[in-house]
Symmetry: C2
Subunit: 262 residues, 2 copies
C-alpha cells in the first residue's frame, strides 16, 4: 500500500517549503508535507516538532532552529539568513514548523526574507493546534445557538463582550489568571468552561477541565510539564468536555482522598 | 517510497471516523486521514469534497451525502442515522467532510448521534479552508503590530471594534455587502483590505483583491462560479496580498481597455 500512488507527482521544485508539521503526532502532517520532506535536502526544524516527524526525511540534513515557549533559542534573523543561504546552494529546503506555519509562527519575517532574496517558496498548511485539540476533545469550537465565532489569539483582548465567542489561546500557559481576568471583565460568566490541553495529539497528551473563576486563582507550577505547550480553550461549547476531563484544581474531597491514599 | 513506513500501524479499529478532507487538493489531507480512508469499508462523502480525494479509498463503498452552500441536499438526520446503521454493520466507516470536520460542519449532531448509539468514533482534523487560503496568499492572518487575533466566523458579528482583528468568513459569498456594512459600522476603515479566494487549493482556484468600501456595493452574479465555495479574508494584514491580486471590481481604465480589446 503506497500513500503516494494517487498523487504520484514529480519531485518538488527547487526552493524553500514552509511546512506545517501539525500538532505533534507524526501522522497528522499532510500528505503533501510528508512527500516534500521525503525529497528534502535540508530541513530546518522547530524545537516543538516531535523528533519522530523527522522519520519522514531520513535522507535530509537536519538543522535544529528551536523556539520554545516564546523564547528564541535561535535568533529569527539567523534562521532567515540560513534559509536564504541554503536555498541558494541546495535544491529542496524545508522549514518545518509546529502546527500551521502561518499561525503565530513569525512566518512573516521568513517570507519577507525569501521574497527579498527572490527565492521560490511555497507554504504547505498544517493542522493548527487549536483544531487538533478540538478533535481530541470531540467538541467543535462553534455551535448554533451557543457560539458562531472562534477567536484564535495569543493575548487577552480588550473587546467588549457581546457574542459568546469561543476563544482559543496559544502560548497562554504563563498568563492564565490574566486571561481569566480579562474575559471576566469583558462580561464572560465566572462559570464559563475552560479546557487545557498539553502536548496535543502526542502520546503524553493530558487534558484538564476548569472554569474562568478557578483559572483566576490558578498557580500552574505543579500541574504542567515545564517545557510542554498548553493550549487553552474557553467557551460555553466546552461545558461537557470540561466536565468530563480531570479537574484542573481537585475538589477538597479529592484532595482529602489523595492525602489519605484512597 | 512508502508514506506509510514511518507510521506502520495496524488497520484502524472498527468504528466511525470523522475525517477532514482539507480545502480540496487531494494531497492536503493528513497522512492519518488518507491511511484510514485506505482501510474504510464505507465512506460518507460531502459534495464539497473533490472527487479525486476518493482515489485514496478505491476499495470503499461511497455514499454521497452532499451539502452545498448551506443547502442540505441530504437531511442531517438521515446522515446521522446512516452513520449509526453503517457502524453497526461494518468495520471502518468514514465520514469525510471538507476542510476541518469541526469547523462549521454541523459535526455536533453527528457526534451526538454516535455518542447516543454508543459507537466508537474518532475525529481526524483537516486543514481548514481559512488557513489553506492564507497559505495560498502567502500571508499569515496575524502579524505583530497589525493584528494579534484571528476571528473565524460565518456571520458578521456585532462586537464593537477595538483591536484590528483579522476576520475570515466561511460561506460568506451570499452576504458580502452585509459583511462590509457590519464591519464598517464596527469601525473598520473603508480601505480595509479584503481577499476572496474561490475553490482554495484546487486547480481552478481564483483569488481577488478588494477593500470593504468596494464590497459594500458588490454584486457577485458575474464573478464567482455558481457552486464553488468562496472564503473571505479581511484585515490590514492582507494589504499587500489584496494589492497584488486581480481586482474584484476592475478600474474604469481596465474596463475601457477590456471594452476596446486592449
Amino acid at each position: 500500500m503506497n500513500l503516494f500512488s494517487p498523487c504520484a507527482k514529480n519531485a518538488p521544485k527547487s526552493g524553500v517549503y514552509l511546512i506545517g508539521a501539525g500538532p505533534g503526532a507524526f501522522d497528522l502532517i499532510t500528505v503533501r508535507g510528508a512527500q516534500i520532506l521525503a525529497n528534502a535536502n535540508v530541513v530546518f526544524c522547530d524545537a516543538l516538532v516531535d523528533p519522530k516527524m523527522l522519520e519522514w526525511c531520513p535522507q535530509a540534513e537536519i538543522v535544529l532552529v528551536g523556539k520554545r515557549c516564546g523564547k528564541y533559542s535561535t535568533a529569527q534573523k539567523f534562521i532567515n539568513r540560513q534559509l536564504v543561504l541554503a536555498a541558494e546552494k541546495k535544491d529542496v529546503i524545508v522549514r518545518l514548523k509546529g502546527g500551521d506555519p502561518l499561525i503565530f509562527g513569525r512566518a512573516n519575517e521568513e517570507i519577507d526574507a525569501l521574497k527579498s532574496a527572490n527565492i521560490y517558496f511555497e507554504i504547505v498548511p498544517g493542522i493548527t493546534t487549536a483544531l487538533a485539540a478540538c478533535a481530541e476533545l470531540k467538541q467543535p469550537p462553534t455551535a448554533r445557538n451557543i457560539s458562531r465565532t472562534l477567536k484564535i489569539t495569543t493575548l487577552p483582548s480588550h473587546l467588549n463582550y457581546e457574542d459568546q465567542d469561543t476563544q482559543i489561546y496559544y502560548m497562554g500557559r504563563e498568563q492564565l489568571p490574566q486571561i481569566a481576568k480579562e474575559m471576566i471583565a469583558q462580561g464572560y460568566a465566572l462559570s464559563t468552561p475552560v479546557c487545557l490541553v498539553e502536548s496535543v495529539s502526542l502520546p503524553h497528551q493530558r487534558s484538564f477541565g476548569t472554569c474562568l473563576e478557578e483559572l483566576l486563582h490558578f498557580q500552574q507550577e505543579n500541574v504542567f510539564h515545564e517545557k510542554k505547550p498548553v493550549i487553552v480553550l474557553i467557551g460555553e461549547v466546552y461545558k461537557n468536555a470540561a466536565d468530563e476531563l480531570t479537574p484542573l484544581i481537585p475538589s477538597l474531597e479529592q484532595q482529602v482522598r489523595a492525602y489519605i491514599g484512597n
